[in-house]
């Protein structure tokens, strides 16, 4: 093939490429399917927000549980502490009474 022939074929290819428009309008199903795919892709974007909220809720739940356990422990210790001081007081009274008896 000579240069002129090559140029003619190139031009024919160019005309053919530009002319090949075919049916350019995609159907409504194509668009509907596309939007379904887009929403499916977008879901993971919204998921982290929900999971972040879940993490915050769980953290709050654990913190409140831990706080209530600590409070319960403190309360129970303070109660037993009070009982101890009362019983010690009672023992002191008894010891004093016994000492008095011995002295007599």
């Amino acid at each position: 093939m000579n240069k002129q022939e090559i140029r003619k074929v190139e031009e024919a290819f160019k005309t053919c490429f530009q002319a090949d428009s075919g049916e350019l309008q995609p159907g409504p199903e194509w668009q509907r399917d596309l939007m379904i795919n887009i929403r499916a892709i977008a879901m993971p974007v919204s998921r982290p927000v929900r999971s972040r909220q879940e993490v915050i809720i769980w953290r709050l739940a654990w913190t409140s549980l831990a706080a209530s356990l600590i409070l319960a422990a403190v309360f129970s210790f303070s109660q037993t502490g009070g009982d101890d001081s009362q019983s010690i007081g009672r023992w002191e009274d008894k010891i004093v009474a016994i000492n008095d008896i011995i002295r007599e």
Binding site: I6, K8, E10, F13, T15, D20, G22, L24, I38
Partner: protein
């Protein structure tokens, strides 16, 4: 009621109104389809067009609103078609049949044609489409994309470079090399039938 601008639509999509993406699809689907249909076999055009819009949706956050959305989307369409041919190459999918006698006759007629009308009629024939597909399959996906953009569709070099994500100098050199390869393929065409 005022029609929202593309920038407003994009901002709304980015702030979570995903359904507004349909407005962009509605606006640009014909352009994207015209790019895709010329570059990939008709049977795969719808799937590739889907991929174009999905890629655009995923990359919407990186879209700089200084340039037109249509140009940006065209670039994505060209790259998606390029990826299509790359995948075809890796899966060794045969998409164009080997040239036959009808195409050889067409080639001879084109070379002998002296009137513009005759040439124009010849250029629209099925043989031309088959032969162009066969020749383009001989090129790398990037060379193919450059030839289609710069020599077949007369895209400005700047736009072609932006579509490929390359610099101007690289695009120019690659396009020239791609054209030289195409010329070589065309020059060897009659010999292909003798094989």
């Amino acid at each position: 009621m005022t029609v929202p601008s593309e920038a407003e639509i994009i901002n709304r999509i980015l702030s979570g109104n995903i359904d507004d993406f349909e407005l962009l699809v509605e606006e640009h689907k014909v352009k994207v389809f015209s790019i895709v249909r010329k570059r990939v076999p008709p049977a795969d055009a719808e799937e590739v067009a889907h991929k174009v819009f999905i890629a655009a949706f995923k990359a919407l956050g990186s879209f700089s609103q200084n340039k037109p959305f249509g140009n940006w989307l065209s670039g994505i369409a060209v790259r998606t078609c390029c990826n299509y041919w790359r995948e075809c190459g890796s899966s060794r999918k045969v998409l164009a049949a080997a040239p036959d006698n009808e195409q050889l006759e067409w080639l001879e007629k084109v070379c002998r044609s002296d009137s513009i009308e005759k040439f124009s009629t010849l250029s629209r024939r099925q043989e031309a489409k088959e032969l162009i597909g066969w020749c383009l399959n001989k090129l790398s996906p990037e060379d193919r994309a450059l030839l289609e953009m710069i020599y077949f569709e007369d895209w400005p070099l700047k736009e072609a470079a932006a579509a490929m994500g390359w610099g101007m100098a690289k695009t120019k050199i690659r396009a020239m090399r791609a054209k030289a390869k195409m010329k070589l393929i065309i020059s060897k065409l009659p010999g292909e039938w003798k094989k």
